[in-house]
Symmetry: D2
Subunit: 155 residues, 4 copies
């Protein structure tokens, strides 16, 4: 099972804590973690996963494998800048979004375009014509986010 954890390269302490716990919970269940490979939420999630011996994949924007955070075991070097966000989303069977800015929003959009479930922890909500799109599924804790991601994962 492959789950992407998305969120900002700048993030709050609380987001860091959430991301690290999400990473741990994924790794405990044998799930492979995918992310954008950089700092912030991405690094915290990888650190959590690595602490449990999990596999971590970083889909990097630049041309240098060394831009990956220290907890990425498999760096994928795209050289495509933030167009790589599409790959972070599409390679997952479920996505967990934590906080995040516009890059995270683009990943949410790509995931939903590909019918990949998105679980949100303190992240974006989206509405069209005043009606909320309920397809970003809210979770109240990292463990709940992981449980929902695994239950809904695209096969």
């Amino acid at each position: 099972m492959f789950v992407s954890v998305i969120g900002g390269s700048n993030c709050s302490e609380e987001e860091t804590r959430l991301a690290e716990e999400v990473g741990r919970e994924l790794a405990k269940r044998g799930v492979i973690l995918i992310c954008g490979g950089l700092e912030g939420v991405m690094e915290a999630a990888c650190r959590g996963a690595a602490s449990q011996g999990g596999t971590t994949i970083g889909i990097l924007p630049g041309n240098d494998r060394h831009e990956a955070n220290a907890y990425v075991k498999i760096p994928i070097v795209t050289g495509m800048g933030y167009a790589r966000n599409a790959i972070v989303a599409k390679s997952a069977q479920a996505v967990i979004a934590i906080g995040g800015s516009y890059g995270t929003l683009s990943e949410i959009a790509y995931a939903r375009q590909n019918d990949i479930p998105v679980i949100g922890l303190d992240t974006w909500s989206i509405s069209r014509l005043g009606v909320e799109d309920k397809s970003i599924i809210t979770a109240n804790s990292p463990a709940e986010a992981v449980e929902k991601a695994l239950a809904l994962a695209k096969r």
Copy 2:
């Protein structure tokens, strides 16, 4: 001046009408229209622009220039699928969003990530932690959308 018009390849009659008028208004002002090159909102906007002798650019997802709608004068063949959405957004100095689904949302996200203003006609609204992101600027008519796009365009 370059303005992208984004929206669904499936769209309502009202969205078609709005897009066509946006295209006309842009062309009347000598603005070059960029879009994703396909049907729906994209085609209607190109048709409107072409009716006024405007230049239309279609950033195509596939490998075949002939997938462009009949009103695209300059087809750009990316072969990159919906990763081309990043290009549609980034090549514009302002973006006008009409309706649209998740692909449109990804383009809005890429535009905002690059500080390109987004003007919305009956499109997505986005919130973080319950606070609406006001950076999608609402317009009530095609002419108003075009005026706001030109006033705010990134230099």
Copy 3:
């Protein structure tokens, strides 16, 4: 008709002269010139085309429209780095290669993969298992390159 001119961002004086003349010859025939939008061969070709009032499109690697050379009239901002080479190749109906390094070779490869003819002026030659691939068509002058490009252009 759309023709891409490809070659290095660093180039010799002779390559500069060839590229500028190719640009002029294309524009005289009303052909729209596509290139990677930067310096060297790209800039020289655009300068030649602009001197004849031609239309020039620059498919840029970065996120900033201002990285285009001064003769690009239509900058396409990809933000995808050298993955944009695929777009430079695929958007053309014929490609003219002048000198160039590995980036140019990648564009030749993408053009040939898409059955787009490649005309070479002092550029790469390629062989498989010791047999030269004759599909890079040699020209001995800019005018000949342009004539061959137009004669062979993919419809």
Copy 4:
């Protein structure tokens, strides 16, 4: 260590044999194999690696993880068509090319552009202005290709 094996999705029996042995030799040395994830040389290399318990990554062109061959353990879903060739090249510390057509040539070009060594088994040779580019390093056997790849790998 990460090594990409590149070559055609259609390939000869001899190329299949070479690719499978390259995959085995990589896996025996604990190297992670990257490829384009599809049939032909890619599948044979993955099959060889999998027979030795190796890790295999497939950088897929389409939007469906199920397009990966049966021996890919980690599918990366790009949805970017053959623009994904840049990623196959750049994610490697060394590339082994076996036979191949224009797609393979584009990967060789991207690898060389990024100073990643390319080892060739019965593949392309390239020349500029009549002078062969010796940077595609010839190997006479799969084991020799793997040894050279590891010796020269970019750090």
